[in-house]
């Protein structure tokens, strides 16, 4: 618990620091050098905390209009949250299934091979290529698979969701296949094999259980990967999500709120993954 509190405090200050960075760093035009100015920081942070304590999220600038953040953040938050939850969970499930449970079959080897190649390519290149492909696909067939209109509904969100799922799936797949291979050499696996247990049984009861801690340990990193991609994807695919507050304005208020929303999303996604694992164990391993 102490560690949790510590973490929260550190994260709080980290986010405030990040949101305040743009007003801290300036260029000195006379000497053409970078300058740090701290004089506006306490005021900005003070304002932020005061706004929060009054139960308001403050306002942000959209074009020439000043709007309360609280009015707009709900929809944006839900959009990002849905994309993240669906994307990350789907990615994890895919990587688990293909990494452990059906990885030994000949058919899945092709899939594994593709995964291995894809995982060598940085996510942002995949994202750009996916966009190019979607547009080319439309030109060839006339079938529209993406829409860049912010109000296009499901058409606007399914493609980003798929892209979000890609990074966790690839990352986890790589990790799981290495761990699976390593775990396969352990003595308890030999014992299980010697006892005549079926491979599926070993996978569920010996392998999965021993790989699970590693997955939990990497979960934060996976979610942070996905969040990183979320920013890119929302930015270039024109999705109305929380990144709007971060990229569209340079106000401390909006950026801090955006970052906290991002944090909340990571937390919810984390919980959702843990719940998924819990259900999985209850359902298949009968713990």
């Amino acid at each position: 618990m102490a560690r949790f509190v510590q973490q929260m405090v550190i994260i709080f200050f980290l986010i405030i620091f990040l949101a305040a960075l743009p007003i801290m760093i300036t260029i000195n035009p006379e000497e053409n050098s970078i300058e740090w100015t701290f004089q506006y920081v306490p005021e900005a942070i003070g304002n932020f905390i005061i706004q929060l304590s009054q139960g308001s999220l403050g306002t942000y600038q959209v074009g020439y209009q000043e709007r309360p953040i609280a009015d707009d953040i709900g929809d944006n938050f839900m959009t990002s949250l849905t994309i993240m939850i669906v994307g990350v969970n789907a990615g994890l499930i895919l990587s688990l299934i293909f990494g452990i449970f059906i990885s030994r079959f000949r058919m899945t080897k092709v899939f594994n091979f593709v995964m291995n190649i894809l995982s060598a390519i940085p996510d942002f290149i995949l994202i750009v290529f996916a966009m190019l492909f979607a547009i080319k696909f439309y030109k060839w067939t006339g079938i529209r698979i993406i829409s860049l209109r912010p109000d296009a509904g499901a058409m606007n969100t399914w493609f980003p969701t798929m892209l979000i799922g890609m990074a966790p799936a690839l990352y986890m797949f790589k990790l799981i296949s290495v761990k699976y291979y390593q775990t396969g050499g352990e003595d308890y696996i030999r014992t299980a094999v010697a006892k005549g247990m079926k491979l599926n049984y070993i996978n569920f009861h010996h392998v999965f259980k021993n790989i699970e801690p590693f997955i939990h340990a990497e979960l934060v990193k996976v979610i942070s990967l996905a969040i990183g991609n979320l920013f890119i994807i929302e930015y270039i695919l024109n999705v109305q999500g929380i990144t709007k507050f971060i990229f569209q304005s340079f106000e401390v208020q909006a950026m801090a709120v955006g970052l906290f929303a991002m944090l909340l999303i990571s937390f919810i996604v984390y919980v959702s993954v843990r719940i998924l694992f819990y259900l999985f164990k209850r359902g298949f391993i009968h713990e």
Binding site: L21, P29, A120, P122, Q182, G184, L199, F231
Partner: protein, 788 residues
């Protein structure tokens, strides 16, 4: 077949690809077919319009196509790749170094403090690129900071913020190893922490560190790519409004991808080409990493008891200890690596030595001189010249053209041999034309030997009698310039040196009678008073010699060790001292604002028949009535050391480049260093244009051939004023302040074209991309259809 499958392909391919990448990083700019300011211009070719953007493989000149504005994609990639790879490697080195050391030490602590873990966790929640985004947003968009500053700050910040994640994973790995029995044993035997870490833990980590290192390179490139997608380009983002576009300063690869992001809808090649190269870069490193991983894994891993579907195909390789030490027994792998290294070095040498500068006008001939000069007491010279003239063009030469000897009397050529064969030659007023025999036409190199004699000209009589100075004008046969299929010879114009020569290397030996000495273009003249010696000089457009006898001289060191000498026969010491001070101030200004002075010595000779600037030598005409005009001329002549002597241009067709740029530079000196107002500083150019107006002359563009020129003001005052106006109108694209941008413009121009040749077309390309103005904006003072 199985044997084939067992080869560690990723390792070999990875090594090979990374070698290619490194090669391009080092030699890329040399391989680039165009400079970064060259644009493809719209033209008709065989009835078709060739206009940017060209698609890849459409034109041989632009193999990967051009972007919307006509810049060559291949050249941008070749120039930008080094930034991408070196920045990624630099960041990785820093973070791995600190991360590993800190991680290993923390990992060996008995208990890791909870705040460290809390910090690591908190830190890993926020995507790294976002942290960098917040850091770089305030500084990246303005182009005020130098690209190097921005690159350095990126390297520092990126490595700092990614250290915690490295620490975390190294700490965990160390913690695992620390539990092993052999560490326990080492401890029992009395090993302290340092020994444990460096002798027991580090060797265990070595291999995974190597793999991690290479993967982290890919990771840094990923971060750069993510930043580029939100328009933060490493090294600076240029923002242009209306329409809103973002451009990368360094042409770094991910920046190229980012700036072409709008091209997903059309002209996709502008986006796809850099993207594929970037993909190749990351794949190369990933392959190398996975190859190494395969190797280590097969060497150390236990085989699983169940079928996992992830089995490596390779067999482990064990160390062969009994063969160790026999260096001559190379394994196939080592042989292959050796072959690769040798190819790398050989290809590098080849590129380095055959590299033709792609900056400026292409050079198609090059001359090297070996001259000797002998003078007797009565002023008669015997001289000989060995010239080596290289044909760098694709044509066969019918003849070689040298300029006729001039400004000396009684010049007489004894004989000319070419490649040790006597040949026919035609001497005209202007030139000596040597006909090449049939068998020599296709040769790439010609040796010309010539011996000749001449006497001092009429003006030289006083030198013989009373002492003084005399510049030997055309005392050696200069090789003309071959360009675009012909020898470029301009008609002679009275009072202007129209001899068009290019950068050449000189070696000269001379012998003078007692009491004479010379000042020359060479970096190191013999001390005054010495009457014989050898001089050497590389990369000068001509080699000027001034004979001296009994002259007054001020010789002092100016800034950066440049020897600034002033010669005068008048005996007016005040004038001499004042002139030296002015020359020193002007030289210092140009050294500080424009760039390094191209030579080691500057000789200024007063009281000469005309005011001229030659490499390393300035002759000043007598002009005592008007100090201001004298001062301006002197400063302009010093500026010509930069813009005429160190940057070549055709003095017949593009004379305005040296005249106009130096006039602008001189006015700038008055404006910045002497704090004069703009109208005062530009008084001379303005007066020139006023005079034209009063005389009612028709207007003329600056790049007319000299025989059509009606007034010198058109090639001197006009460009100076026009350049100044252009800077005044567009300076905000390059900085805050007019003066600063003006001198930066000169400095960048000088840096770009130093020791290469500029013509009007090059000038327009450079300036239009510098200030983002269309070519049409030069129309009122330059003819944009100018032929080369």
């Amino acid at each position: 077949m199985n044997k084939l499958l067992r080869i560690n392909f990723p390792l070999y391919i990875g090594v090979f690809f990374v070698a290619i990448l490194l090669f391009v990083c080092i030699f890329g700019p040399m391989l680039a077919p165009h400079s970064l300011t060259t644009t493809l211009e719209v033209e008709y070719k065989d009835g078709k319009v060739v206009a940017p953007p060209l698609t890849p493989f459409e034109s041989l000149d632009y193999p990967l196509g051009t972007d919307k504005w006509g810049y060559d994609l291949l050249s941008m990639i070749l120039n930008g790749l080094r930034y991408t790879v070196f920045i990624a490697v630099a960041v990785t080195i820093i973070k791995m170094l600190f991360g590993t050391i800190i991680g290993m030490y923390i990992g060996t602590w008995r208990k890791v403090p909870s705040f460290i873990v809390a910090f690591e966790n908190a830190w890993s929640y926020v995507p790294l690129f976002l942290i960098l985004y917040f850091f770089l947003t305030p500084i990246n968009y303005a182009t005020l900071l130098e690209p190097n500053t921005l690159v350095a700050s990126f390297i520092i910040i990126a490595s700092m913020i990614s250290i915690p994640s490295i620490v975390s994973s190294i700490r965990q790995k160390t913690g695992e190893i620390k539990q092993l029995a052999y560490i326990e044993a080492a401890k029992t035997l009395g090993a302290k922490r340092n020994r444990l870490i460096w002798n027991h833990i580090f060797p265990q980590l070595k291999e995974s560190l190597l793999v991690m290192f290479i993967l982290e390179i890919v990771y840094v490139i990923t971060i750069m790519g993510q930043l580029a997608l939100v328009n933060i380009f490493i090294g600076g983002t240029i923002v242009r409004y209306d329409p809103l576009i973002y451009l990368s300063v360094t042409k770094e690869l991910s920046g190229l991808v980012g700036q072409a992001r709008g091209n997903v809808y059309g002209n996709t090649h502008i986006l796809i080409v850099p993207l594929i190269i970037l993909l190749f870069t990351t794949i190369a490193f990933s392959m190398l990493a996975s190859g190494l991983k395969n190797k280590f894994q097969s060497d150390y891993q236990r085989t699983p008891w169940i079928k996992t579907g992830h089995e490596p195909k390779m067999y482990p390789k064990r160390k062969q200890y009994d063969n160790a030490g026999k260096f001559y027994q190379l394994s196939p792998n080592q042989l292959a690596f050796l072959a690769l290294s040798i190819t790398f070095v050989a290809a590098g040498c080849y590129v380095y030595f055959t590299n033709e500068s792609n900056i400026g006008v292409k050079q198609e001939s090059h001359a090297t001189y070996d001259l000797s000069l002998d003078m007797n007491n009565s002023g008669a010279f015997t001289a000989s010249g060995d010239l080596e003239i290289k044909n760098l063009s694709n044509d066969d030469w019918d003849s070689i053209v040298l300029y006729q000897l001039k400004g000396i009397s009684g010049a007489e050529i004894d004989r000319i041999t070419i490649n040790k064969k006597e040949v026919d030659y035609v001497v005209s007023e202007e030139t000596i034309k040597i006909k090449l025999p049939e068998e020599m036409k296709s040769k790439g190199k010609h040796q010309i030997s010539m011996s000749y004699s001449f006497n001092l000209p009429e003006e030289g009589k006083t030198l013989l009698a009373e002492g003084g100075t005399l510049r030997l004008t055309e005392w050696y046969p200069k090789a003309a310039v071959y360009q675009a299929g012909e020898w470029k010879i301009g008609e002679e114009i009275e009072g202007i040196n129209t001899h068009y020569t290019n950068f050449s290397d000189f070696g000269i030996s001379y012998q003078l009678p007692e009491g004479y000495s010379i000042a020359s273009s060479a970096d190191k003249d013999a001390a005054s008073g010495q009457s014989s010696g050898n001089l050497k000089m590389k990369d000068v457009r001509e080699f000027s010699i001034v004979l001296l006898k009994d002259m007054e001289v001020i010789e002092k060191q100016a800034r950066e060790g440049v020897g600034l000498r002033l010669f005068s026969g008048s005996g007016d010491e005040d004038h001499l001292e004042r002139t030296w001070q002015l020359a020193n101030r002007a030289l210092q200004f140009f050294q500080e604002e424009v760039g390094e002075y191209p030579f080691k010595q500057l000789d200024i000779i007063l009281d000469q028949p005309s005011t001229q600037s030659y490499p390393g030598i300035i002759t000043m005409a007598v002009n005592k009535e008007d100090d201001k005009a004298f001062d301006y001329e002197l400063v302009q002549m010093i500026a010509q050391q930069y813009f005429k002597a160190a940057i070549a241009s055709d003095p017949y067709n593009h004379a305005w480049i040296s005249e106009g740029m130096s006039a602008f530079a001189a006015s700038l000196y008055l404006k910045i260093a002497e704090n004069q107002s703009e109208s005062q500083a530009f008084a001379v150019p303005i007066a020139q244009m006023k005079k034209i107006e009063i005389e009612g002359l028709r207007s003329q563009r600056a790049n007319v051939p000299l025989d059509e020129l009606i007034d010198i003001g058109f090639i001197s005052g006009q460009p100076a004023l026009q350049i100044n106006q252009m800077v005044n109108e567009h300076f905000h694209l390059q900085g805050y302040e007019v003066n600063e941008v003006s001198s930066k413009y000169l400095a960048d121009f000088y840096k770009q074209y130093q020791f290469s040749e500029v013509d009007t077309k090059e000038y327009i390309q450079f300036t239009s991309s510098y200030f983002s103005v269309p070519r049409g904006s030069f129309n009122n003072w330059l003819s944009t259809k100018a032929s080369r």
